[in-house]
């Protein structure tokens, strides 16, 4: 047990103690109006809470590594995951807020007046959240594996135990102030190494302004090695794949059940707009820093690690080689490690760089704490979404309507445990890099919920049979494309698995429109309900007339 282990572990435990402490303090204070608690929070803090909810292991652990290894092509993740907030805030959040429903399956079931649609939405929620959580578990495997210097797979198993326990006892979701604390820990942990590296390499404390210089130097280094240059577009995939991936991530963001839920719980449409704006600002801080992180990491690896003697590599390499995510082989036997001989997994770049750059035990420990917060908080939220869909929408509504509260709770708990363990089994041998696994979840969301919600809000003629056909088509097309692309090498215009959402969404939109038009129009009541979403709060649409309610002044 070395000093690093003790520092990392105490920072992880310390920050978790802080989150739980805040949760208990808040619960004790506002037991009576638990649900209202979130509603008195200023939009700025609500934005931070959304940020903490949003930033998962994919953003924290996986993103910079993906950008580093893919170069320009990795920026599809940066633009996709931020641009989604435009679609969400402009096209969905205010209307969903006005509809007054609390979950996505509930909104879909009521808007389309169909129990079947609600059931399909619940199944889609489970598939999406399950896929997403595989990415989180494999992220926790990277962190725990490094911490204990064991294989990443063993780290993942420990992560499974932690997440199952943590979500089954209730987790710390929904408590805004806990999430505000998580955001602050996350962003501090992420920014400190970027700022330190910026100072080390460029003497400028503002990485966002200084890394352009490093990017220029990388181009020169790449040219010397004769490899494809870092900034040259479409070296890893085609232009169409870039565009398809970016669309998939944007539309997926606007359709992810656990993200949308945050907008149902704000007090007003005005608060929904401001929360969205603040959220993107706080999220953007990490996304603006990730490419800087990537450029610094690549520069350090190319100039300080590559070119050194194999016999004389720094100590950090051994611990990462042990986790199985780094390989340094002297292929040409000249005793020197070449850049080409260094194979680093996307997923360890963020965690390994502070060690490589020798930033000290405290910074490395802080990174571990930040990464664990990102993985555990998101995984907790996903597990709760799965358990709600299973126990409420499927078990209670469709299988056993007479189930007691206790029985439903039990079904919920067991579904968390089963879902975590099965996601963990898949994550033992991750089917892809964290960002890639998460991109599949986004593809599924963009193929199912995005079309169902957008048309549900903006097109009153969309009806139950239409949305059922649309969600099933979207799900089948997206899943089919992901599998066909991975296992049978299918690619249309060079679009691979991660861009599948563009086909899923298109197919679903066509299916909803066609089937809706050939079947009966929704009832007048439903159509009036959709018209009502056009107008702001306080205005109500009824029988072709608009009413304003100004009686409820506070």
């Amino acid at each position: 047990m070395d000093a690093q282990f003790i520092v990392s572990l105490s920072l992880i435990l310390g920050t978790f103690g802080l989150y739980i402490g805040i949760a208990f303090y808040n619960m004790a204070r506002v037991t009576s109006d638990f649900y209202v608690a979130g509603r008195n929070v200023p939009a700025v803090f609500n934005g931070m809470a959304i940020g903490a909810d949003w930033m998962s292991a994919a953003s924290f652990i996986g993103l910079a590594g993906t950008v580093m290894l893919l170069g320009y092509d990795g920026l599809a993740y940066i633009m996709g995951w931020t641009g989604g907030y435009l679609l969400l805030t402009f096209l969905l959040a205010p209307q969903l807020r006005k509809s007054g429903r609390y979950t996505v399956p509930e909104f879909i079931g009521d808007r389309y007046n169909s129990g079947t649609a609600r059931l399909i939405a619940a199944v889609a929620t489970i598939i999406i959240s399950f896929t997403y959580s595989i990415g989180q578990l494999s992220g926790s495997g990277v962190v725990i594996g490094r911490l204990l210097e064991v294989d990443t797979a063993i780290g993942t198993m420990i992560g499974v135990a932690l997440i199952a326990f943590y979500s089954a006892v209730g987790g710390m979701k929904g408590i805004t102030w806990t999430q505000v604390a998580q955001y602050i820990v996350l962003i501090t942990a992420y920014l400190i190494p970027v700022i330190f590296m910026s100072l080390q390499l460029t003497n400028n404390p503002l990485p966002w302004l200084s890394y352009g210089q490093i990017v220029s130097e990388l181009q020169v280094l790449d040219a010397q090695l004769g490899i494809s240059e870092y900034v040259v577009p479409f070296t890893e995939a085609t232009r169409w794949q870039f565009l398809a991936l970016m669309f998939t991530l944007m539309a997926g963001t606007a359709g992810l059940p656990h993200v949308i839920v945050r907008f149902y719980t704000v007090p007003t449409m005005k608060a929904a707009r401001w929360s969205g704006a603040w959220a993107l600002l706080f999220i953007g801080l990490l996304y603006l820093s990730a490419p800087a992180y990537a450029a610094f990491s690549r520069f350090i690896l190319m100039t300080q690690v590559a070119g050194s003697s194999i016999a004389d590599l720094p100590a950090w390499t051994t611990s990462w080689v042990n986790t199985g995510s780094l390989s340094l082989a002297d292929d040409n036997g000249d005793g020197i490690l070449q850049w080409e001989e260094l194979v680093i997994s996307n997923d360890i770049v963020v965690m390994a760089t502070p060690e490589i750059a020798n930033l000290g035990v405290f910074v490395i420990g802080l990174m571990a704490a930040g990464a664990m917060a990102a993985a555990l908080s998101t995984a907790g939220g996903l597990m709760i979404a799965i358990s709600a869909a299973l126990s409420q929408d499927i078990y209670y509504r469709s299988i056993n309507p007479h189930a007691t509260e206790r029985k439903r709770l039990l079904v919920g708990r067991w579904s968390i445990i089963i879902a975590t363990v099965s996601a963990g089994i898949v994550a033992l041998d991750p089917p892809g890099a964290i960002t890639q696994i998460v991109a599949w979840a986004f593809a599924l969301a963009s193929g199912t919920f995005f079309p169902a919600l957008i048309l549900g809000v903006w097109w009153k003629r969309a009806n139950g049979p239409g949305v059922i056909a649309g969600m099933v088509t979207g799900l089948v097309v997206t899943l089919g494309y992901i599998f066909a692309s991975r296992f049978a090498g299918l690619s249309i215009l060079g679009i691979i698995d991660t861009g599948a959402g563009v086909f899923g969404a298109t197919a679903a939109i066509i299916a909803i429109i066609v089937v809706s038009l050939i079947t009966k129009a929704p009832s007048q009541e439903t159509q009036d309900g959709v018209m009502d979403l056009r107008y702001p709060e306080g205005m109500y649409y009824k029988n072709g007339e608009v009413w304003i309610d100004d009686s409820k002044k506070e």
Partner: protein, 90 residues
């Protein structure tokens, strides 16, 4: 409850929708538009980055953030103009 002219309500809807279309068009151009013409736009540099890389790593995200804040501020103004800011939630 009092009835208001549907025209007024629809004017509100129209102005909000028009603005949303404008915001989304700007967002589309800075992301999809720049990516589509990435090679053509890589000729000049901003702060050490080729332009297409700058837009992908910083420009687009900053534009998105600014658009959301403009939307929040402008929408508040519109609500005020239509006298909706007085209507508080339950």
């Amino acid at each position: 409850m009092r009835k208001i002219d549907k025209k007024e309500a629809d004017a509100y809807y129209r102005i909000r929708t028009t603005l949303i279309i404008i915001y989304l068009a700007i967002g589309f151009v800075v992301s999809f538009g720049v990516v589509f013409f990435a090679e053509e736009l890589s000729g000049f540099s901003v702060n050490g980055f080729p332009f297409h890389y700058f837009m992908g790593a910083q420009g687009a995200i900053l534009t998105f953030i600014i658009l959301l804040f403009i939307n929040a501020i402008v929408s508040d103004r519109i609500d005020k103009k239509f006298g909706l800011d007085q209507v508080k939630k339950k």
